[in-house]
C-alpha cells in the first residue's frame, strides 16, 4: 500500500486529536455532573477507568497509524550507543519490534557514515556529533548524535553556540536517530536557511536570511 500524503496524515491525526479532546471534555463534564449529584468515590473512579480505556484505544490507533502506514517502528534501541527520549515502554516489550528496530537502526548508521567525510566520521566517533557547513560556506552547524530533538547548533568557528534548533524527520522518536541525522545533514548542506525557517528556535536566534515566520510557523504555533 503506498504511503498516504502528508495532508492525509495530518487530517487523520487531527481527527484523532479531536476525538481525544472530545473524550476528555465529556469525561470532565460527566465527573462534574456526577459529583454534583453526590456520586461516591467508587462511581467516579469507575467512570475514570472507562475514560482512560477510551483514551488508550485512541492512542493505540495513533500508534498503529504511524507503525503500519509509515513503516516506522516505535521504541528505543536498547543498549545502543545513543539514547532515545520519550519512548513507549509497552511497545518495547515486544521482541519482534526490538529486533526490527536494531536492524533498521544498524543499517541507518551504516548509511549515514557512508555519507560523511573522514573529518565528520572522526568527530562522530570521538564526540558523538559532527559538523556540517552551509552551501555558501559561511555557517557551521553541529549535529548532536545523541538526541534528535533540538540537536542542531549553529556554531561560530571559535566554538561559541549562536543558536539551537529543533527540526527533524516526521515521526520523532519512532525514527532512528541516524535517519534524522542524514536528513538534517542534507538539508543543512544544501539550503540551511530554508530548513531552519521550519525550525523551533530553542536558544539564540536564526541565522540572518531565515524566514522568522516561515512555513513551519503554523505548526509551531499549534504545538505551543
Amino acid at each position: 500500500m503506498p504511503a498516504p500524503s502528508y495532508e492525509a496524515y495530518r487530517a487523520f491525526h487531527e481527527q484523532l486529536e479531536r476525538v481525544c479532546r472530545d473524550l476528555q471534555a465529556r469525561h470532565l463534564s460527566d465527573l462534574q455532573e456526577l459529583a454534583r449529584l453526590g456520586a461516591g468515590h467508587d462511581e467516579l473512579q469507575q467512570l475514570s477507568f472507562v475514560a482512560e480505556e477510551q483514551m488508550r484505544l485512541v492512542r493505540e490507533e495513533q500508534m498503529r497509524l504511524v507503525r503500519e502506514r509509515f513503516h516506522a517502528i516505535p521504541g528505543p534501541p536498547s543498549g545502543f550507543r545513543v539514547g532515545v527520549q520519550g519512548y513507549d515502554e509497552a511497545y518495547w516489550q515486544n521482541e519482534e519490534y526490538r529486533q526490527r528496530w536494531r536492524e533498521r537502526t544498524s543499517g541507518a548508521w551504516d548509511l549515514l557514515v557512508a555519507h560523511l567525510t573522514p573529518t565528520q566520521r572522526s568527530e562522530l566517533q570521538q564526540s558523538a556529533y559532527f559538523t556540517v557547513r552551509s552551501a555558501d560556506g559561511r555557517r557551521l552547524y553541529r549535529l548532536d548524535a545523541t538526541i534528535y530533538m533540538g540537536n542542531i547548533r549553529w556554531v561560530h568557528p571559535s566554538g561559541a553556540v549562536l543558536g539551537k534548533y529543533c527540526v527533524h524527520t516526521f515521526g520523532g522518536y519512532a525514527v532512528p536517530i541516524p535517519e534524522h541525522l542524514l536528513a538534517q545533514k542534507l538539508h543543512l548542506e544544501t539550503d540551511d536557511l530554508a530548513y531552519l525557517s521550519l525550525a523551533c528556535v530553542m536558544f539564540g536566534s536564526r541565522p540572518p536570511g531565515c524566514q522568522e515566520d516561515g512555513p513551519g510557523a503554523a505548526e509551531r504555533h499549534e504545538l505551543r
Binding site: M149, G150, C166, F170, L198
Partner: protein
C-alpha cells in the same frame, strides 16, 4: 539492445532513503531507469525532498536524472 544473464547491465546509479536502498539502475537499461524514475516521482509526489549526492557534495533535485550516481530521498521535516 538486449542483454543476456551473463551481460547484466552494470549498476550506475541508486535511489536511497535513510532506511536503505530503494532501487538501483544502469544507464544501459531503460526498464531500470523507468522503474527508478517512477520511485523518484512517487517520493516527490509524497512531499519528500531529494538530494543528488556525490562524495561529500550534495545538491537538492526536483527531477530524476539517471546520470546521477546516487539520489537520496528524505521524509517530511517538521519543526519541533
Amino acid at each position: 539492445m538486449g542483454t543476456t544473464l551473463l551481460e547484466k547491465p552494470r549498476t550506475t546509479g541508486k535511489l536511497t532513503s535513510p532506511t536503505g536502498t530503494l532501487v538501483e539502475w544502469s544507464t544501459e537499461s531503460e526498464e531500470q531507469i523507468r522503474a527508478a524514475r517512477e520511485k523518484f516521482d512517487e517520493a516527490i509526489a509524497q512531499g519528500k525532498a531529494a538530494f543528488a549526492v556525490k562524495g561529500a557534495e550534495s545538491e537538492r533535485v526536483d527531477t530524476f536524472d539517471p546520470e546521477r550516481e546516487e539520489i537520496v530521498v528524505v521524509p517530511w521535516q517538521v519543526g519541533g
